[in-house]
């Protein structure tokens, strides 16, 4: 046996982990070769030094410390159990290829579904939305429209799904078509929205000076469909009061 073959197996020879044939050959070589024999002695000495580190004793209070921690664990055991269960499940998912890909695919599908639902919800229904109790909102828009705030007036346009719907753009058009004589004209219209969303004019409070404006507004409201108010999940009739103002702005 050559030195280059003996040196790499000296560690195994020291541990008596070589088979009998190899052990005999290495042993015979060590008897003859001083260099390899020295290497082997160095290795033996190193092991003796390492062996001197044996016999480390754990401190007596290690048991007490663990006992204390176990007590703590048992106090909030459900939390720890849950955490441990989640950790184990997550670890199982991560380490099982099939489960990992299935979870990823499921996550992707669920996320897509979520966004699809969100986008469907974001599109308004075909009728005009008039939230009960917040009827002043449309009137505010009309004011802005009358003031010539085109950006505000055009903004809801993309949400219009029905020609009959009352919206800020309609109000803007009405305001624009009315003669300039009806300066600072204000009037109130009381309407009733039935459960089907049909709006009927019930009363006109403080009629405006410009009758043209009133007739246009009544025509528009009559053709509009509103979202009915709901009570315990069922559509009910409700009254809505609109305030219309014609404000003229002088440059």
């Amino acid at each position: 046996m050559l030195c280059k073959n003996v040196v790499p197996v000296l560690s195994e020879f020291l541990d008596e982990a070589l088979d009998s044939g190899a052990t005999v050959k290495v042993s015979q070589h060590l008897d003859k070769c001083a260099q390899c024999s020295k290497e082997f002695n160095d290795l033996s000495m190193l092991r003796r030094k390492l062996q001197s580190l044996r016999g480390v004793q754990a401190p007596d209070y290690l048991g007490k410390l663990i006992e204390h921690k176990l007590d703590e664990m048992q106090h909030d055991s459900w939390r720890k159990n849950l955490q441990s269960e989640l950790e184990r499940t997550w670890s199982k998912i991560r380490t099982t290829e099939g489960m990992w890909y299935f979870t990823k695919a499921l996550g992707t599908v669920m996320t897509s579904l979520f966004f699809v639902l969100i986008s469907i919800r974001a599109i308004p229904p075909a009728y005009m939305e008039v939230p009960p109790g917040n009827t002043g909102q449309e009137a505010d828009s009309s004011k802005k429209a009358s003031l010539g705030d085109l950006a505000t007036a055009k903004m809801p346009q993309r949400r219009i799904r029905s020609d009959a719907a009352m919206n800020s753009l309609c109000l803007y058009n009405i305001g624009d078509s009315i003669s300039a004589d009806a300066k600072d004209d204000t009037f109130f219209v009381v309407t009733e929205v039935d459960p089907s969303g049909v709006t009927t004019i019930k009363d006109v409070l403080e009629p405006p000076r410009d009758q043209n404006m009133l007739s246009k507004v009544i025509e528009m409201i009559s053709s509009a469909r509103c979202r009915p108010a709901s009570e315990k999940g069922k559509a009910v009739s409700s009254h809505v009061v609109y305030t219309f103002s014609k404000v003229t702005v002088h440059n």
């Binding site: 560690s11 195994e12 160095d42 190193l46 390492l50 001197s52 004793q57 048991g63 663990i66 176990l70």
Partner: protein, 215 residues
């Protein structure tokens, strides 16, 4: 005459085979019994049996008593939580060694991460304070104070050299030379092949030997 000899040899060979089979069966049977008895151990019994073993392994891997105490607690808490899931695929001893070695290696890596953030590493911390060794926990039969001091210095030196080894080689060398595990047990504990264990031990020892020579 020749035929008779051949017949005798065949009978002897058959007997030898039967004996080997019996031995194998006995070995397998005793291993299964051992696993069964280990699975029936209570946590207190496990702790009594393996506490010094776990602490010893961890303290040599980390080289710090306080850290080792902390990791040993973690190891036994893991054992407590998971002892119901221990299926006896490996021996209890190698299962616990596996947990202890992994936790200690993780703790060491954690120290290194802290170092990267600009704080001190466990290695540096230990090398700067050479006398904070585990000597007080080591049993010694030597009575003379001079001899005890020399031995302590020698142990400190070996500990430092062990800490300079790459983690996997360090664990393999500690398991073999200090904890006296067989190659098979080390392979089971480290979840690697027998060949890998042999090469890690050989390379670790070679590196230590060179360090000793270089002094």
């Amino acid at each position: 005459m020749l035929r008779r000899d051949a017949a005798i040899k065949t009978v002897m060979y058959t007997n030898e085979l039967a004996l080997r089979k019996n031995e194998d069966a006995v070995t397998k049977g005793s291993a299964l019994n051992q696993v069964d008895s280990e699975r029936n151990l209570s946590f207190e019994e496990i702790f009594e049996r393996y506490n010094s073993m776990v602490y010893g392994l961890v303290v040599h891997i980390l080289g710090d008593r306080e850290e080792a105490l902390d990791v040993a607690q973690e190891v036994f808490l893991i054992v407590y939580r998971k002892m119901n899931t221990f299926r006896g695929e490996s021996s209890l001893k190698t299962w616990i060694y596996c947990i202890a070695a992994n936790r200690a290696a993780n703790r060491f890596r954690w120290w290194n991460r802290i170092r990267r953030r600009g704080t001190v590493s466990l290695e540096e911390h230990l090398l700067k304070s050479p006398n904070r060794e585990l000597s007080c926990n080591l049993r010694s039969d030597i009575q003379s104070p001079e001899e005890a001091l020399l031995l302590q210095e020698e142990r400190a030196e070996i500990e430092h050299m062990l800490l300079e080894l790459p983690m996997q080689q360090r664990i393999a060398v500690i398991m073999r030379d200090i904890e006296e595990l067989s190659y098979e047990e080390i392979a089971e504990s480290m979840k690697v092949s027998l060949g890998t264990v042999k090469s890690r031990i050989a390379r670790g020892r070679e590196m230590l030997k060179r360090r000793f020579k270089g002094q």
